[in-house]
Each structure stands twice: as structure tokens, then as C-alpha cells.
């Protein structure tokens, strides 16, 4: 019986997240459109509201091309690895008090593990397609994820030290319901490092070198078509949502807000996640791509020392103030 309820909960979460992913693409296209003084999708439905559904149907019925020289098994597995890893990390995210599928004590570590696993999908896709562009995209993704995973992990150590736990629910509870309790204030350096590492981790502009459509056609997903291509995009958007959720939970106080919304407890969580998503899109509409060596030097020479310094600083403050 317990298993059945869990299964239904998973299904509901999956459906809601997929809907959000579909409309995140709409949200992104609309906002970038308006920032570029265009309108974005306008044709399908009122103000293009049915556009994501039309896109979904289109990519579902498109021809699925597998290149002749590709490593077929890996080629087919890569998008699934990406999507599964991203979806799995949703299980530990607390949307509201008690609204979590698996309230495990290593939640934060689990999410790191899953987001690293998702980059395997990207690397394998790059390797299996047997093409120059995908291979370069895959290599870049590997280098990028390795360097930024470190910065991201270190930036969240400060949060772990303050809250004394890796359990995401407890991290939110440790911040309390007050505005000043949010970890963004004591951990402002960590937030800065986390934010930049988050952009790099999800392969978003200005660190979208694995995709880099201006130089690598479409990077690791060049050879993909139809639904498999769409799966990579779903994984990217779920990745954005997971990272936004982590940012919300660790720095912005999770589901706590100025007042309780009793009919829909995750209200403030959703608002904060969408604020993060908006910033993602806003940055995409504004900034050009970093050069590859700049990306590496920011990661290793700026973010990691900053994060390490923040750990030392947090440790000192915690030791002296108790």
C-alpha cells in the first residue's frame, strides 16, 4: 500500500514537472523575445500559449535518425541517462514542509551525485555520435562539469556548516521563517560562487560551451533528432529547476515566506524557483559566451579560492560566536 502511494506521488510529481518544463520553454522564449523587442511565440493559441504542446507533438512524431557510424547502444542510452539523473534528483527536493518524496539525510550530496551523473549523458552523447562537433561538445562539458562541480560543492560547505546537516528539509528549517534568517546574508560569498557555478553546471549562457551553437552547430546534441533531442532539452530545463531549487533551499529559505499560503504550501518555493529561472533567462538574453580559457580561469582561479576562503571565514565566525 505504501509503495502504491509512493508510486502515485512519483507520477504526479513527474507530470507536474514535465508541464513546468514545457512551459519553462515558453516562459524563456517569451521573455527573451520581449527583451529583444520581439514578441516571442504568438501563433499557436492565445499569445502562443499552446506552443510548448505543439513543439512536444512535433518532436514526438519526428523521424528518429541514428547516424550510421554511431555507437548505437550508447547513442540511445545517453539522453535517457541525462533525463533519468535529472529526474531522480527531484526526489529529495522538499517543496514544502513534508512535501518530499525521499527525506534522506544526504540530500545535498545525492543531488551533487545526480547532477554529475547527468553530465555522463552529455559526454556519452558526444562520444557515441561519432562526429567532431558532438565530441568537442562532450569534452567541453566534461572539463566544465569537473571544474565547476568543485566550486559548487565547496560553496555549499558553508551552508552545511551553518545548518549542521545535509538533509534539505532540515537546512530549510535551520534558516527559520524570518527574513534575516536566510543564509544568503551570512553566506553572500558562497551564494555568489554558487550562482556562477550553477550557470556553468546547467550549461547555460554565458557558460554554454558544450552547446555553443555559433561554433559547434549544437554541441553534444548535433546528431540527435526528434524526441531524443527533446529529451536533452527536458534534462536541461529540469537541471535548471533542480539548481534553482537548491539555491532556494540553501540560500533563500525554501518554502518560508512573508506569510503562509495555507491552500498551497509550496507557494513561496515556486515563486523563488521562478525568480531564479527568470534570472537564468535574463542572463541568457544579456550576456555573450565566455571564451574557453576564461571559463577555466574563472572556475579555478576565482571561484574555488573564494569558496575555500568562505569556508575558513565561516569556520572562524562559527568558532568565535558559538
Amino acid at each position: 500500500m505504501h509503495v502504491l502511494i509512493l508510486f502515485i506521488e512519483i507520477l504526479i510529481l513527474f507530470a507536474i514537472i514535465m508541464l513546468h518544463v514545457a512551459y519553462a520553454t515558453y516562459f524563456e522564449r517569451k521573455i527573451i523575445g520581449h527583451m529583444q523587442v520581439r514578441m516571442g511565440p504568438m501563433r499557436v493559441g492565445w499569445h502562443g500559449l499552446l506552443q510548448p504542446i505543439a513543439d512536444g507533438i512535433k518532436s514526438f512524431f519526428k523521424e528518429d535518425v541514428v547516424p550510421e557510424q554511431a555507437d548505437v547502444v550508447t547513442f540511445r542510452a545517453a539522453p535517457i541517462i541525462c533525463l533519468t539523473a535529472m529526474l531522480t534528483s527531484l526526489a529529495v527536493i522538499p517543496f514544502a514542509k513534508g512535501w518530499v518524496l525521499a527525506n534522506i539525510n544526504v540530500g545535498l550530496l545525492f543531488i551533487f551525485a545526480m547532477s554529475s551523473l547527468a553530465s555522463y549523458g552529455v559526454i556519452l552523447a558526444g562520444w557515441a555520435s561519432n562526429s567532431k562537433y558532438t565530441f568537442l561538445g562532450g569534452l567541453r562539458s566534461m572539463a566544465q562539469v569537473i571544474s565547476y562541480e568543485v566550486a559548487m560543492g565547496l560553496s555549499l560547505v558553508g551552508v552545511m556548516m551553518l545548518s549542521g546537516t545535509l538533509n534539505l528539509t532540515k537546512i530549510v528549517e535551520a534558516q527559520g521563517g524570518s527574513f534575516g534568517g536566510m543564509y544568503i546574508f551570512p553566506q553572500i560569498i558562497a551564494f555568489f560562487v554558487f550562482f556562477i557555478a550553477m550557470l556553468a553546471e546547467t550549461n547555460r549562457v554565458p557558460f554554454d560551451l558544450p552547446e555553443a551553437e555559433t561554433e559547434l552547430v549544437s554541441g553534444y546534441c548535433t546528431e540527435y533528432s526528434g524526441m531524443r533531442y527533446a529529451i536533452f532539452f527536458m534534462a536541461e530545463y529540469i537541471g535548471m529547476m533542480v539548481m534553482s531549487s537548491i539555491g532556494t533551499i540553501c540560500f533563500l529559505g525554501g518554502w518560508n515566506g512573508p506569510f503562509e499560503v495555507t491552500i498551497f504550501p509550496p507557494f513561496w518555493f515556486v515563486v523563488k524557483v521562478y525568480a531564479f529561472m527568470f534570472v537564468f533567462i535574463w542572463i541568457r538574453a544579456t550576456l555573450p559566451r565566455y571564451r574557453y580559457d576564461q571559463l577555466m580561469s574563472i572556475g579555478w582561479k576565482v571561484l574555488i579560492p573564494l569558496a575555500l576562503g568562505n569556508i575558513v571565514l565561516t569556520g572562524f565566525i562559527k568558532a568565535f560566536t558559538g
Binding site: I31, G33, H34, M35, Q36, V37, R38, M39, M42, W282, I283, A285, T286, L287
Partner: protein
């Protein structure tokens, strides 16, 4: 020329990402600006004076056919050589008679030289611009098609067609005496030389 470089960022500006913030502020401002998109099939573009669209041969009200005298000026001036005319001499009347008048619209660059150079204002680039077709033959205009194009344009303009004067029929900056009789048209004041931005050659001649 002196190049004005931006002053170098100081440390505080680097830490606060002042330049990135400027960019972000700009895009945020644009988010609330009115989009310049024209929703095309519903919203048609405003057609300005001197628009150069589909080709047409003006249908002469008296003869019911084109005004063309086969002087071959348009054929000569056409930079993409898309106009082809065949004619024969009528010995009795001592004039040329047009056998066929073809325009390959797919090769046309819409420069408007042909209508400017035509001594009898027989040719016009109308304001019709939606004539895409699925085959090349439909966009190859022979004399019949060109006259039909004029009829379609006349339908579009309605009663305004009677006083219709294309700006290219009365080229600017050329003295009246140098124009053929048909081109000495009465044009509105704002088309004349005083209200126009003209080149040095025209200014010197005045």
C-alpha cells in the same frame, strides 16, 4: 580621428560586475518596451510613396492596351536584363508595334529604372507585393499578365487610380524642358525640388 576608450574598471567595479549590471539593466528595461514586431498577415505594412512592387503595364483608357512605344529604353537601362521586347515596324503608320513584352520578375531587382526612363509612362512598379507562387511560370509576366496586374492594382486603389501619378514617372531634379511631354506631370509641391534633399549636381544646375 581620436578613439575614445572606456576608462579602465577599478577593483570595486570588477567585484560588483558594473558592466554586466549595466547590460542587465538595459535588457530589463527592454522587457517592458513595446515590441516592434509586425504581425504580418493580420497587420499589413504601411506602404510609402515610391514603393516598388509588382510590375504592371498601364492600360490606356482610349486604346484598351498598353502605352508602350517599343523605344527599348527600359530594356537598355535594366541592370538585371529581365525585360524582353519584340516589335515590328508598321510601314503605313511609320511607328513601332509591340509584339511581345515580357518581364522575368524573378530576375528583377526592383530598382525602378525602367519606370523612370519610360518616355510615355507605360510601365509602373505597383504597390502590390503579395504575389508569391508555387511555380516560375506564374511569376513570368507577359503583356497580358502585366495589363492584368494593372487592372488588379486599379481595383485595389479604387477611384484614386484616376489621378494616380507614380513618383518615378516625374523624375526629380530634371528640368521640365528635358522631359518628354508625357512625363511633364503636375506633381504635388512636396515632390518638387525645393522640399527634397538633392545631390550637388542638381543644386549646381539650379
Amino acid at each position: 580621428m581620436q578613439i575614445q576608450y572606456k576608462p579602465k574598471r577599478n577593483l570595486l567595479q570588477t567585484i560588483l560586475h558594473s558592466e554586466i549590471m549595466q547590460g542587465m539593466a538595459f535588457t530589463l528595461k527592454q522587457l517592458f518596451a513595446k515590441p516592434i514586431t509586425r504581425q504580418y498577415p493580420q497587420e499589413k505594412p504601411e506602404i510609402k510613396l515610391g514603393f516598388r512592387g509588382q510590375h504592371a503595364l498601364v492600360r490606356d483608357q482610349e486604346t484598351g492596351t498598353s502605352k508602350c512605344v517599343a523605344c527599348m529604353r527600359c530594356v537598355t537601362v535594366c541592370p538585371s536584363r529581365c525585360i524582353h521586347i519584340r516589335f515590328h515596324e508598321d510601314e503605313e503608320r511609320g511607328c513601332r508595334v509591340v509584339d511581345s513584352y515580357d518581364i522575368e520578375a524573378l530576375r528583377c531587382v526592383y530598382c525602378g529604372f525602367c519606370e523612370e526612363v519610360c518616355p510615355v509612362n507605360a510601365l509602373v512598379l505597383t504597390e502590390i507585393f503579395e504575389y508569391a507562387a508555387y511555380n516560375r511560370e506564374s511569376i513570368f509576366f507577359d503583356q497580358e499578365r502585366l495589363l492584368a496586374n494593372w487592372d488588379a492594382f486599379a481595383d485595389m486603389k479604387g477611384s484614386a487610380i484616376n489621378g494616380y501619378i507614380n513618383p518615378f514617372w516625374r523624375p526629380r531634379g530634371i528640368p521640365e524642358r528635358e522631359l518628354t511631354a508625357a512625363k511633364r506631370l503636375d506633381v504635388p509641391d512636396e515632390w518638387t525640388i525645393e522640399g527634397q534633399v538633392v545631390g550637388n549636381l542638381v543644386k549646381r544646375d539650379q
